[in-house]
């Protein structure tokens, strides 16, 4: 892969949320993520784009802890978390959504959000009646309201439309009050109206929340993302502002032209 035409924009290390060095992930002979460096500062909005199979979701899974990297280090909030469990990373303030829906499909919207609110250890009394936990139930209702699901708290998630499920994914991640929020293609399969709602939620996100976003929809990826990382074949091929990416020949080739021989 050719070298990036521009120098990458470095994030200041003092308030780094995420610092990735030489990250490598192989599945047998396939190198899904190859020697990747990435720095994300506090409150930044970073988009990761790239064609299918570029390694974006693998990168997410490695950062979230679902996959162990085969090489490299991940430092989150100043701590090396390379070998830490998914659960511990969540406790540190990492929240993510999944590319394919992994909601609790036989539970209600309210119960899904309630579980999102009870994930971290602490004040939750695990053996009381969950329906009497009025404070958390009320907060679950608030979050449902934010994506227009306030009326459907008692609906089973399996009965929601695809768009509603995607939005529920998003608020469930938000409900954990994350410091680093990672969204895996949140706009996939959404209607134009739902996309608008998603944009509103993303642009009005608290500046204390750092956002890492995988998105195929360029409108969202380049509007929400203040910095864009372009991946192809597991490598970072370009990193820069939205304008840089928009005007990049490399990106155009990757997305539109395929290989130079016109395949």
């Amino acid at each position: 892969m050719s070298a990036p035409p521009e120098p990458a924009v470095p994030a200041s290390h003092a308030d780094a949320v995420l610092a990735i060095r030489g990250l490598d992930k192989r599945f047998g002979g396939v190198r899904a993520v190859a020697d990747l460096d990435l720095d994300i500062g506090h409150g930044e909005r970073v988009s990761v784009i790239g064609p299918n199979g570029a390694g974006k979701s693998t990168l997410f899974n490695v950062i979230a802890g679902d996959h162990r990297p085969t090489g490299g280090r991940i430092v989150m909030f100043g701590t090396d978390i390379t070998g830490e469990s998914t659960r511990k990373r969540a406790h540190r303030g990492l929240a993510r959504t999944f590319q394919t829906s992994k909601l609790f499909s036989t539970l209600t919207v309210g119960d899904n959000l309630y579980l999102a609110l009870c994930g971290r250890p602490g004040s939750v009394r695990r053996l009381r009646n969950a329906n009497r936990d009025r404070a958390r139930r009320a907060r679950a209702a608030e979050f449902a309201e934010r994506v227009g699901l306030g009326e459907r708290l008692r609906t089973e998630v399996g009965e929601l439309s695809h768009g509603e499920q995607r939005q529920l994914e998003l608020v469930m991640a938000l409900a954990t009050q994350p410091r680093l929020l990672m969204l895996d293609e949140p706009a996939a399969g959404l209607s134009p109206a739902e996309r608008g709602g998603l944009m509103d939620v993303l642009t009005s996100l608290d500046r204390d929340v750092t956002l890492l976003l995988i998105e195929h929809d360029m409108d969202i990826a380049l509007v929400v993302g203040e910095r864009v990382v372009v991946m192809a074949d597991g490598e970072k091929v370009l990193e820069g502002g939205p304008d840089t990416v928009r005007s990049s020949d490399l990106v155009r080739r990757i997305y539109l032209g395929g290989a130079p021989d016109g395949r």
């Binding site: 979230a64 802890g65 679902d66 469990s85 998914t86 659960r87 969540a90 406790h91 929240a95 993510r96 999944f98 992994k102 909601l103 609790f104 499909s105 036989t106 539970l107 209600t108 119960d111 899904n112 309630y114 579980l115 999102a116 009870c118 994930g119 971290r120 250890p121 939750v124 009394r125 695990r126 053996l127 009381r128 009646n129 969950a130 329906n131 936990d133 009326e151 459907r152 708290l153 008692r154 609906t155 089973e156 399996g158 009965e159 929601l160 439309s161 469930m172 954990t176």
Partner: protein
């Protein structure tokens, strides 16, 4: 053409926004509106030993057996419903509890006040140890592992004759007399069993409603997300398995006094499978199914033994199991709904057949030529089992209302 069709094909759109997804009997049982029915059931259960026909001893014994068998099945159903883990090893913990009480009291003169809690505690601890390994597996592997553990214990009990008296088992016990009431009296024993079964049921029901229980169902649906939300999936699964072992252990202690002892025959392979059959027969989607199934199986086996049904006990059990799996996956508890469903599909198939007979492509279905209608009739006429997905635990609330109108 395609516009209205799309709308019609998505039944979710038509349901009111907060429609309670529970339907029929389950709603009556599980909702608070069923207070009347529950009161009637309680009255029936309490009055039962006084109104049963002669020979009273035999009939009350059936009820008691249904109760303790129901509690073992309860532990299986609770685990399956909340975690998706289908265990064939519940008799292991049942046996550990029974044998511990027997060995301690009958052979070492330890008082029951000590031996009963010790038995239940030891069985629960064994459950925790088995859980350490078992909950790492899933599906068939989990099933085989739990079954293997129960068989391991069976042969252990058979061979550790100095402790367990081998194939003879432990018998000739003196039953305790709590509050001066002798458990030799079948009516007294019935009420004790009823109280314990009710307690076990209430406990299972309550735990399902706690954040712990909700988290278990979350793990059943999507362990990846539960991890991402910060839950310790392994620990939750382990605790759930241990809790189910505890419930089975309580039943084991109870059954020990019912039988007046325990033998390896009471915990062999067939008994382990009986627990699964009870759960499926009663309805593995509902906690009530445990007791409905236990009563059903106990009666069936007794009738077969008494010669009322001309079939061998094991054969009969197998036939019933197959029939339930093929045609009534919701079990006894869900029987009314399933029968209604069959009535509906049967009527539809009949109407469709008659319609074709009268005039082939008559537009009686209101819509023709778009290819969807014949498919629906085909689905109906096959008499596909309504709704449930059998032992693969789904909450079961999504009934296939294919083409219902």
């Amino acid at each position: 053409m395609t516009g209205p069709d799309l709308v019609a094909r998505d039944p979710r759109r038509n349901s009111p926004p907060d429609a309670d997804s529970r339907r029929g009997w389950r709603r009556i049982f599980e909702g608070s509106k069923g207070a009347g029915i529950i009161a009637a059931a309680v009255l029936l259960l309490v009055a039962f030993p006084f109104v049963v026909p002669q020979p009273q001893f035999w009939v009350v014994s059936i009820a008691i057996r249904s109760l303790w068998l129901g509690v073992v099945a309860l532990s299986l159903i609770w685990l399956a419903r909340n975690t998706g883990m289908l265990s064939l090893g519940q008799m292991t913990f049942f046996a550990v509890a029974g044998y511990t009480v027997g060995v301690l009291t009958t052979q070492n003169d330890v008082p029951y006040v000590v031996s009963i809690p010790a038995g239940i505690l030891l069985a629960t601890a064994v459950g925790a140890v088995v859980a350490l390994i078992a909950v790492r597996t899933q599906g068939v592997y989990f099933l085989m592992l739990t079954l293997a553990v129960s068989q391991l214990l069976y042969f252990l009990v058979l061979n550790a004759a100095t402790l367990t008296r081998g194939y003879q088992g432990i018998s000739n016990i003196t039953r305790p007399e709590p509050f001066g009431l002798s458990l030799d009296n079948r009516n007294v024993f019935y009420f004790l069993a009823l109280a314990i079964a009710a307690g076990a049921f209430a406990l299972c029901w309550y735990v399902s409603r706690t954040p712990f229980g909700l988290a278990l169902r979350g793990i059943r649906d999507s362990p990846e997300r539960m991890r991402a939300l910060g839950y310790n999936v392994y620990l939750y699964r382990m605790l759930a398995f241990t809790f189910a072992a505890f419930i089975a252990a309580v039943s084991g202690a109870l059954a020990f006094f019912y039988h007046g002892g325990i033998t390896p025959g009471a915990i062999d392979l067939l008994r382990s499978i009986d627990v699964l059959i009870v759960s499926v027969l009663g309805g593995i989607n509902s906690l009530w199914g445990a007791f409905a199934g236990a009563l059903g199986l106990t009666m069936l086996q007794n009738f077969a033994q008494a010669g009322w049904i001309p079939m061998r006990r094991v054969t009969l059990t197998g036939v019933v199991f197959v029939v339930v799996l093929l045609f009534f996956r919701g079990g006894i508890v869900d029987l009314p709904r399933q029968l209604r469903e069959y009535g509906r599909t049967g009527r539809r198939a009949w109407n469709g057949w008659r319609g074709r007979d009268l005039g082939g492509d008559r537009p009686a279905s209101g819509r023709d030529g778009d290819g969807t209608r014949p498919e629906r009739v085909a689905v109906g006429s096959k008499l596909s089992p309504p709704g449930r997905s059998g032992p693969q635990i789904d909450d079961g609330t999504r009934s296939t209302r294919t083409g219902e109108r």
